[in-house]
Assembly symmetry: C2
Homo-oligomer: 239 residues x 2
């Protein structure tokens, strides 16, 4: 069994949006987004700030390849990672003059940037943005539930389930044969913590506990095997 989720065949446009695990993948296939030349294509290395908080708002972006994380900071340094985005997802939209959240590449990434004029001119592009915003709003709703009401253990379980394409969601088919699955965790413990609204120690403890209980196994930090997906699913609080 592969430890690398990227070997699984699923494209961003077929997965129900709120369980889209595209951002968990390593180097990813090009997104289905048509780029008719109006959008400037930009490439960034890993951990590069694409948008800083309070940057003047010039463009909206589409992720073409790779993963992007959206975050916000409080003046005293507390950080919240708001969204984890994969190919097809959009970011940088604002009704304000400035961006209200930062965007950073998780790995090497390619994005397309569209200024307001380009967007206004292309109706297909507008529709695509609208569709994506809908799915991302669903994901944000789910995440608000996680942040507001779930325990640390449930948060970490939910996080891990989201890494497994097609599982844990409404359209989950249930276990198919041996119910194990390998996933690549491309975030540090600190980043997972900032995403889940807990501390890195709590994340670490939750991982260790799940490992001790036989739900997970791993030797490398970033290559985790979920031994029993259904059991993990029952720990998310959603079922």
């Amino acid at each position: 069994m592969s430890l690398d989720a990227r070997s699984l065949d699923h494209s961003a446009d077929r997965i129900p949006p709120k369980f889209d695990a595209a951002w968990s993948l390593g180097p990813s296939r090009p997104s289905p987004v048509a780029n008719d030349g109006q959008g400037r294509v930009l490439s960034f290395d890993a951990r590069h700030m694409i948008i800083d908080e309070a940057d003047p708002a010039r463009c909206s972006y589409v992720v073409l390849e790779g993963s992007v994380m959206i975050s916000k900071m409080l003046p005293d340094g507390r950080r919240q990672i708001i969204e984890l985005l994969g190919p097809g997802d959009v970011f940088g939209m604002t009704t304000n003059r400035v961006h209200e959240s930062a965007a950073e590449s998780l790995g090497p990434v390619r994005v397309a940037a569209y200024d307001a004029a380009a967007l206004r001119a292309d109706q297909d592009l507008q529709l695509m943005f609208a569709e994506r915003m809908k799915s991302q709003i669903c994901a944000l709703h789910d995440h608000a539930m996680l942040l507001g009401r779930k325990t640390a253990r449930e948060r970490v379980s939910t996080f891990l389930i989201r890494l497994i394409p097609g599982r844990g969601g409404g359209g989950c088919t249930g276990p198919v044969g041996k119910d194990a699955c390998g996933v690549t965790v491309s975030l540090t413990r600190q980043e997972i913590a900032d995403y889940l609204g807990i501390t890195l120690e709590t994340v670490s403890r939750a991982f260790s506990q799940l490992k001790r209980e036989g739900v997970l196994s791993y030797s490398r930090h970033d290559a985790v095997t979920v031994t029993n997906v259904c059991r993990l699913c029952r720990l998310t609080g959603a079922h």
Copy 2:
């Protein structure tokens, strides 16, 4: 000084979206949304379920008048209120066959319902939906920060500041003369708690503490005077 925020002159389309306090108002002015007859206008009493979780997805909605709250439940009964919406805001969009969150009227409310075909046919409507989704995504980002990283006291302070139009946000002008303001709290303590991701007791304690410290004063539960808006603002964690 009035205890009723509705007396203040501000329309939904001029307020920066993430600090839009339209949902804090009582009976509200009609929204600027053009209703060209394609959308069915629906009216509901207070505390009426407009959408149940897992309802088949038929329409997208625009709030015309009144306030709507969007929420999700876990199977064990834990609830999270995800969004509080006012005139101009949209809800019910989904890429799925079913709605993934519930919508309930806070007071008497009028909404316009558009099915997919109506939306596809009207480009202005699409644009309006897209613009609103942008602002609501910003609000969801802000709220994720609140839920993930703020203390109970900061959450309640943020909640109260959001009730005050034009204050607490980026475009905050600072105190103008005597820095007091009356607001109408049209949610129960339980609802505030479910919105802020804490318990009703914690909400109550936070209110009491702020009152004891002289930041707030109130005799009725739903009519609160913020005695010193700037001081409250400094308690939100955002400044």
